[in-house]
Symmetry: C2
Subunit: 207 residues, 2 copies
């Protein structure tokens, strides 16, 4: 089974590149589907799960050594519960044994035993702002400066959460087979050749 | 004219990958050749030039505001002189108008007007130690610990010199089209597919 994982800077086009790679190779594709599965299993609203997963873990981890267990409201769903559920859903995806592309969710780390080909996608801030405007993913920001700030905040949270969940540094080149910069080329041009690098890697490792 | 530049961590195999890419594409290849040309033009020993170019620029920049010009020994060749000569040699290579791969020498920055495809090559420290042992490039170090220290020292100097010469951060993913990690695959497997990514990029940019 071939698994390609995509980690990415916000607005870099990592999600679209992942979809294009999956299409080029005829692989399954997982992105929002993981949130949908978690929401369904936990009988929660998808939007609630999505928002909760994107929160800054550092601020939401219960400081257990400061609390007696009696003080912890066990009926309340925490971000940690959802992270465990996320891990379970990723395990289910892998258990299917089908070739796939998975975007985000620290799948590179969580499915490391399946030897995924790990891609990190980045782009210049200006290119990322343009892409956010194009896709109307500005998080309500109405000026370029605010959009930039929003992008940087999201990436900071991603970096921090990855570090807490996996113990590895988000975006550090040593954690990925390939880091691709989407700044100055079209994703549909890039996708087949990057897919080809991944295929060749799998082939040379007998995967 | 298609120029591919390779920047790399010491021991990552960037030089070999560059040669393999050049061979795969039938491109000219420049690496040590640049040092040879500088030495020839300046009527200096090649080894002297190589050593001088690898020195820590931070420590060798003359603090001119502390010196009257009378105190500067103009007959002495400085690292800065060699850097200027290096820039001239790179300009000559580009002026030939032939497709080529250039390893190191901040060619990505210096030839930026020629729109090079910029690759950064990295690898885990263990893999780099192994490669140094294989190629007997241990810088006289006789223990793994010393080899590791040597690698880190060389990279630190490279990072610092790049920052001084170009003002950009060595190894920062935003400065390269592609960052490839050679840790767990064979360079001869990797070279043709990476070359193919570069070719496709040139094609899509009408280069």
């Amino acid at each position: 089974m071939k698994i390609i994982t995509i980690s990415r800077e916000f607005g870099s086009g990592g999600r679209e590149l992942g979809k294009l790679i999956a299409d080029a190779l005829g692989f399954d594709y997982y992105d929002r589907e993981i949130i949908t599965a978690i929401a369904k299993n936990q009988e929660l609203e998808e939007e609630f799960v999505a928002n909760m997963m994107d929160r800054d873990l550092w601020k939401t981890i219960p400081l257990k050594f400061n609390h007696s267990f009696d003080n912890v409201n066990t009926a309340e769903i925490t971000q940690q519960d959802l992270l465990k559920e996320e891990e379970r859903v990723l395990g289910e995806i892998a258990a299917k044994g089908r070739d796939c592309v998975i975007v985000g969710r620290n799948a590179d780390y969580r499915l490391k035993d399946y030897h995924p080909f790990r891609i990190f996608v980045c782009a210049d801030l200006d290119a990322r702002i343009d892409r956010c405007l194009l896709h109307e993913e500005t998080g309500g920001a109405d000026t370029i400066k605010k959009i930039a700030k929003n992008i940087q905040k999201i990436d900071k949270t991603r970096a921090r959460n990855t570090s807490i969940v996996t113990g590895i540094e988000w975006g550090d080149r040593s954690n990925y087979h390939l880091t691709v910069n989407t700044t100055d080329w079209e994703l549909d041009v890039m996708a087949p050749v990057v897919a080809n690098v991944a295929l060749r890697w799998f082939e040379s490792h007998g995967i």
